[in-house]
């Protein structure tokens, strides 16, 4: 036993050195990307990309009045993918397409990494009331869906509280109501590409305008009471 301990320790030490060096390189590269991303986000670029924060908020928290989404704490791969889709025109946006096109692929990844590293804004929805009533339309669709129409609940893919899951299912919590409404209507109109497995076009085909308004209000954090949800819905 005693004889084998020393060589093993030496081997462990060597492996540890290699791991540390590799990790060190990765961490340094990540820090570089982060700085590049931060510069783009806060100052824009010489080529004419505007500072992201001028619309998306100083902390990436989004802008409710303009319907500009929160980027803070959103998965980097998801954000990067969206920037590529804007650049190719696959995801339509007159505002975002020129900016996305002016960024290199590396620039898009870097700015995505930067925003993903920012803390999720405090005070947004992070869980669901365990006993939602069906009359609370937005909360009900979010947490139970409407399975007699084959409509899954939002939380079944976007996670409890709509906090987002993995690289594919973005957070809904803390997104401006106007942004969520625009996206859902965008899928209805074909302005947003179908996305993975074309899940969302099927989902929106089962949502009325009133449903969309109610569920957007729920995730914007000011989930409407039954009466106000109905009032808002009737404006459509």
């Amino acid at each position: 036993m005693g004889n084998s301990v020393k060589p093993r320790l030496t081997r462990v030490f060597r492996v540890a050195c290699v791991v540390t060096l590799t990790l060190g390189t990765v961490v340094a590269a990540r820090a570089d990307d982060m700085m590049v991303g931060k510069t783009i986000a806060t100052q824009g670029t010489a080529k004419g990309v505007a500072a992201c924060i001028s619309c998306h908020g100083a902390k990436g928290e989004g802008n409710a009045a303009g319907g500009f989404p929160r980027l803070a704490g959103v998965n980097a791969a998801y954000l990067s993918e969206q920037l590529s889709a804007f650049a190719s025109g696959e995801r339509q946006s007159t505002i975002m397409q020129p900016f996305a096109n002016l960024l290199s692929s590396n620039g898009r990844s870097a700015v995505a990494l930067y925003f993903s590293s920012l803390p999720v804004p405090t005070g947004i929805r992070s869980n669901d009331n365990p006993s939602v009533k069906p009359s609370d339309l937005g909360a009900w669709i979010a947490t139970s869906g409407r399975w007699d129409q084959g409509l899954p609940a939002c939380i079944q893919c976007h996670g409890p509280g709509g906090v987002g899951v993995g690289t594919v299912f973005p957070p809904l919590a803390g997104q401006p109501a106007l942004y969520i409404e625009n996206q859902l209507h965008g899928w209805k109109k074909g302005a947003r590409p179908p996305g993975p497995m074309a899940l969302m076009p099927v989902v929106v085909s089962k949502l009325s305008d009133a449903d969309i308004t109610a569920v957007a209000a729920y995730y914007a954090g000011n989930a409407a009471s039954p009466t106000s949800a109905a009032t808002v819905g009737s404006k459509q």
């Binding site: 992070s126 365990p130 399975w147 893919c157």
Partner: protein
């Protein structure tokens, strides 16, 4: 209420038809010898309108209603509300969609009606509570709550309420998981793995371990240490195929062909998972006693490994 009235009338007129549809749809529970045996062609040939359980808004709010509500919460947040009996990352609602309401997803309202029942799985008449003990022991890879435990009482209360107005002793359309006709081509692991990559891995991950968020399971693990164990019904390929055909991918149920459902179910049920709690110390003996079926891969060799071997 209109639907229920329609349904009651239809039942009076067409009880025979319902029994036929019930036999077509029912698979997860031991057959009652008095139920007409019908050779199933395909689940898609049963157009019957399913029973509609009471609307959520009509749930009573008295002390009885509180037990119904607790049962519903246990059902949808099993770890949170019945954690001491749960040994994996699943919820009851992982396989019984829409909080146990969805037809063809082994709905609670249909299960409630067909117990007590003789089950060949354990060779005696099982109460509904005992059936649910089996869910905890196998599907939840946990411990069976003792009979009379508040967890079982609340779940039974919830199931009873969902079944309100339905005929006791009958297998209703939508009961269990659909029984698919045998596949045209022998179900195949490799084809299944391709379907898995295309249609399942987005949510359940390439390694089948699912995904969680904020510490809560969102997409359940399909195999491995945190999934159901070898004693669970979902480990039998015909059950998994029926569930997948009717319900997967989530929101796109019915889009896979029967063949694809058989293939991907075979792939899923040919993976490692926690040991059958009835394991006797020998995989061969355990297979012979509990898994002696072409629908179970327990004890079979896949990719050079004997499934179920410690």
């Amino acid at each position: 209420m209109i639907r229920q009235t329609w349904w009651h009338k239809a039942l009076n007129l067409k009880t025979g038809m319902f029994l036929v549809y019930g036999a077509l749809n029912g698979i997860a529970y031991a057959a009652d010898p008095s139920t007409p045996q019908v050779t199933a062609k395909s689940s898609s040939s049963a157009p019957a309108k399913p029973f509609t359980p009471p609307a959520e808004a009509t749930m009573p709010t008295n002390d009885f209603g509180k037990s119904i509500k607790l049962g519903e919460q246990i059902f949808t947040h099993t770890q949170e509300f019945a954690g001491k009996y749960v040994g994996n990352s699943l919820n009851c609602a992982s396989c019984h969609l829409d909080a146990g309401r969805k037809p063809n997803s082994s709905p609670l309202w249909a299960a409630y009606l067909v117990f007590p029942a003789y089950r060949s799985k354990n060779g005696h008449v099982n109460s509904f509570a005992e059936r649910m003990q089996g869910c905890f022991r196998y599907s939840m890879n946990g411990k069976a709550p003792p009979l009379g435990d508040p967890v079982l009482v609340a779940l039974e209360t919830y199931a009873y309420w969902l079944a309100k107005g339905a005929p006791v002793g009958e297998k209703l359309p939508g009961q269990g998981y659909p029984k698919l006709a045998p596949p045209a081509q022998k179900a195949d692991y490799t084809r299944g793995s391709q379907i898995y990559a295309q249609s399942c891995a987005l949510c359940h991950a390439a390694d089948g371990q699912g995904q969680s968020s904020g510490g809560k399971t969102v997409f359940p693990p399909l195999w491995g240490a945190h999934s159901f164990n070898w004693g669970a019904g979902m480990g039998e390929i015909q059950n998994a195929a029926g569930f997948i055909k009717a319900n997967m991918p989530l929101g796109l149920g019915g889009t896979l062909t029967d063949q694809q459902a058989w293939d991907v179910a075979t792939f899923m049920d040919s993976q490692d998972r926690p040991q059958d709690p009835r394991y006797s110390g020998s995989v061969e003996a355990t297979r012979a006693k509990y898994h002696n079926s072409p629908h179970s891969m327990y004890g079979q060799t896949v990719n050079g490994k004997v499934l179920g071997a410690p």
